[in-house]
Symmetry: C2
Subunit: 186 residues, 2 copies
């Protein structure tokens, strides 16, 4: 090694991270299918061929992106005090959106689809399910899935451009309004 982390002209770790970041962003913005490896390479400032070298392929890069997201976010359920606002705010944040997208349409790649489903379940459905069970509500799993699906609709709707006001409203205001609208879930 050359000492520590000085910017080398050739740095595989740097390239890998740039690809992972660009991929997370693009998967968020356009979904798995519409994101091309050439796009990822362009945004990362890295040759797309390196995707194959460092990850194995587009699918494995997607898996790495989902896995990365899986690691760092909190696991409180969606109806916890500040969690809703947090999710809305962080929607732009890379990582979460690709997981949400699978709630609305299966991915074309079976492996990527399975990973995204698992993440959706672990990260969003299950925590809420546990809350409903603890509260002794009827049909806790179904209720949890309903809330998650609804929130997915909202989050993706915000960035779809299909709604006039939903895309513009501040996350805080929306979170408050949503808490109110979903109060049947409490």
């Amino acid at each position: 090694m050359t000492g520590t982390q000085e910017a080398r002209r050739r740095d595989s770790a740097r390239s890998r991270e740039a690809l992972l970041r660009a991929a997370s962003e693009l998967f968020s913005e356009r979904g798995f299918d519409r994101t091309t490896t050439r796009d990822i390479g362009r945004r990362a400032g890295v040759d797309p061929a390196l995707i194959a070298r460092y990850f194995g392929g587009k699918t494995q890069l997607y898996l790495a992106a989902v896995e990365a997201e899986r690691g760092d976010a909190p696991v409180s359920d969606l109806l916890a005090p500040d969690r809703l606002r947090q999710v809305l705010e962080g929607a732009a944040r890379r990582g979460l959106v690709p997981i949400l997208q699978v709630g609305v349409q299966p991915l074309s790649d079976p492996e990527a689809d399975a990973a995204a489903r698992a993440a959706l379940h672990d990260r969003l459905v299950e925590p809420l399910h546990r809350r409903f069970v603890a509260e002794g509500r009827a049909q806790p799993r179904l209720r949890a899935e309903i809330v998650v699906a609804a929130v997915i609709g909202i989050v993706l709707g915000r960035s779809s451009g299909a709604f006039e006001e939903l895309g513009e409203v501040a996350s805080d205001d929306l979170a408050a309004l949503l808490q109110e609208t979903l109060r049947g879930g409490e």
Copy 2:
């Protein structure tokens, strides 16, 4: 003409309708991008080249499908007594789902995207908006968009296969539960 509507061995109207029906189904099941003209032709039992002849191309076929749906369904808002159940039940029905999909991600084709957005607005958002205005609620448009986006999440979530119970529950039960969950919108 040969008299009236006897099934001729060659019948352009018949082929046209078969293509339109198959297209509506496939656009519902897989969305615009993942539906190929070859798939449409195969399901319709018609050569895909006829899509170009009768509609102009895949995009125009999509527009025709959206337009067809636009004509025949009722325009009551989503919170009207039986409307929610009706939408859930009719989700499998060809036509509506393609309109819902645009609420969650823009279509790759600009023309198709604009048409779907307009239909989404006219068919779902605007009626609900009118209701909220009549009820004198604050932020009527935003509230309408929230409810529509949430319902889109539910409907698409049901067919995504990503949720265990949401995909299985009967439309009536789900409609009832949803009315309850969304009661903040009333």
